[in-house]
Symmetry: C2
Subunit: 240 residues, 2 copies
DNA sequence: CTGCCTTCAGGTCACCCTGACTTTAACAAC
DNA sequence: GTTGTTAAAGTCAGGGTGACCTGAAGGCAG
């Protein structure tokens, strides 16, 4: 007979932000924290921790995220529950993983140091546990959801140009998009509207500023709030 | 200080099957089990149970499913981790929920009795815990995934007619589909191929039998096997 | 001031997919 | 044979997409 009480329960979060690489092009980055104890002592890992009995799973994700990185994400969604028997070398551990997006300005608030660092999402070291697999899955989720939802705006401020919005899509999807077709799709989809303002100063025609229309759900609270009949999906349909 | 060890961990599964209603039309049904202890004593609930330390989460779902209903699903996928503080009246409980599909013939193997019964998915009683919410979310997931993947064949045997396949889509999506357009979509998508056989005996032109092409993943093992670079999606794009 | 560069904004056109519909085929029952 | 039913295949207009083109509006070098 095996015991049923010896399974640890933790939450972890994969947080994505757009940051410029050496060439100045925006890329997907994520913060990792260095482990301070065994197992995987001093290896890089996803921020996370235990769940307290009086906080929700999402609350636990937010608390652990704030305690380790000081980040407050603009978008947060549950990703998957990882619970293979051998994913931790000693105690059996089940991790409920969230993924999150933060704006570039919020991203710079991170408490940098020897124990917290930003990494390019497509060039990670060997992480603790199965965290490489988790990051890959979160990246797949981010890219998939970018194509049919309006999460891109979680990377931007309240006002933005079409070029800035397009750069978000290009950085996440890792492919160039035709500016004219991108404009047409965004305009016909109705998810954005012009503010009337323009940005001057560039050595070209001044672009308009846009904002997102209506009530954009910044935090996907999972099935508890949205699932059953509502559709929740704002179409984007970005392709090549 | 709140303790971190007093959180229970369980798995539950929402299993869907197509069964004929009074009018003979196939509908989505699911089996429920009657609770044998507090809380929610004698209320209907999803089949599930505790996770043993030497079994995976998916293994725990399969084992509990077999022990309570004798069902072995043809498709199984993790749905969501439910862990709100107040979802169980006494002990704090986190449930990792799976959703599954079974063929009609397999569905009839269920050990019926006072404690196990089939229910129409859109006409459920008040269930234990937050299980009504969970079923609604699983239904939303089933219907959403039916439109862009090839899970429909998990409801069918190895050979089937286009009318049978279409009836699966119509039962799940709850709307009639144009037979001619459905045929064209299925043929151009390349996910099915004719076997060369036809079904005689009906008082009309004998329909061809089809099979699914290639390696159809009957069990979605989650991100652990498929996620990072592979795309895994077999398009269907069913609409009105 | 005048070209010349840049990016923004708007438009055109062929192509493919879709939905709605029509036509022919092939059986069973009468 | 005639009728009824569904299978199978074809037709056509409309909408969305990708590729491409043209003009607009600024800064900058000379």
């Amino acid at each position: 007979m095996t015991s049923t009480t010896a399974i640890g329960l933790a939450v972890s979060t994969v947080i994505f932000a757009l940051r410029a690489d050496e060439t100045g092009a925006p890329q997907v980055w994520l913060p990792l924290v260095r482990r301070t104890r065994e197992p995987f002592f001093q290896r890089w890992a996803l921020p996370g921790g235990m769940v307290l009995t009086d906080e929700s799973l999402e609350g636990a994700a937010r608390r652990n995220l704030g305690e380790t990185t000081r980040l407050e994400p603009t978008y947060l969604e549950q990703l998957y529950a990882f619970g293979d028997v051998d994913r931790s070398p000693d105690q059996r551990m089940v991790s409920i993983v969230y993924w999150a997006l933060v704006r570039p300005d919020e991203a710079e608030r991170v408490t940098l140091g020897d124990n917290v660092r930003w990494f390019a999402a497509d060039d990670l070291p060997d992480l603790a546990f199965d965290h490489n697999l988790i990051v890959d899955y979160a990246l797949w989720r981010l890219r998939t959801k970018m194509e049919y939802s309006r999460i891109a705006h979680a990377f931007l401020g309240p006002r933005f140009t079409l070029a800035e919005l397009r750069e978000v899509y290009e950085a996440v999807l890792q492919k160039p998009l035709d500016p004219a077709n991108f404009r047409r799709q965004m305009e016909t989809s109705g998810v954005i509207e012009p503010t009337g303002e323009v940005v001057t100063g560039g050595r070209h025609r001044p672009p308009r500023l846009y904002r997102y229309t209506g009530d954009v759900e910044l935090v996907d609270a999972g099935p508890l709030t949205k699932s059953p009949p509502s559709r929740t999906i704002a179409p984007a349909r970005i392709s090549a």
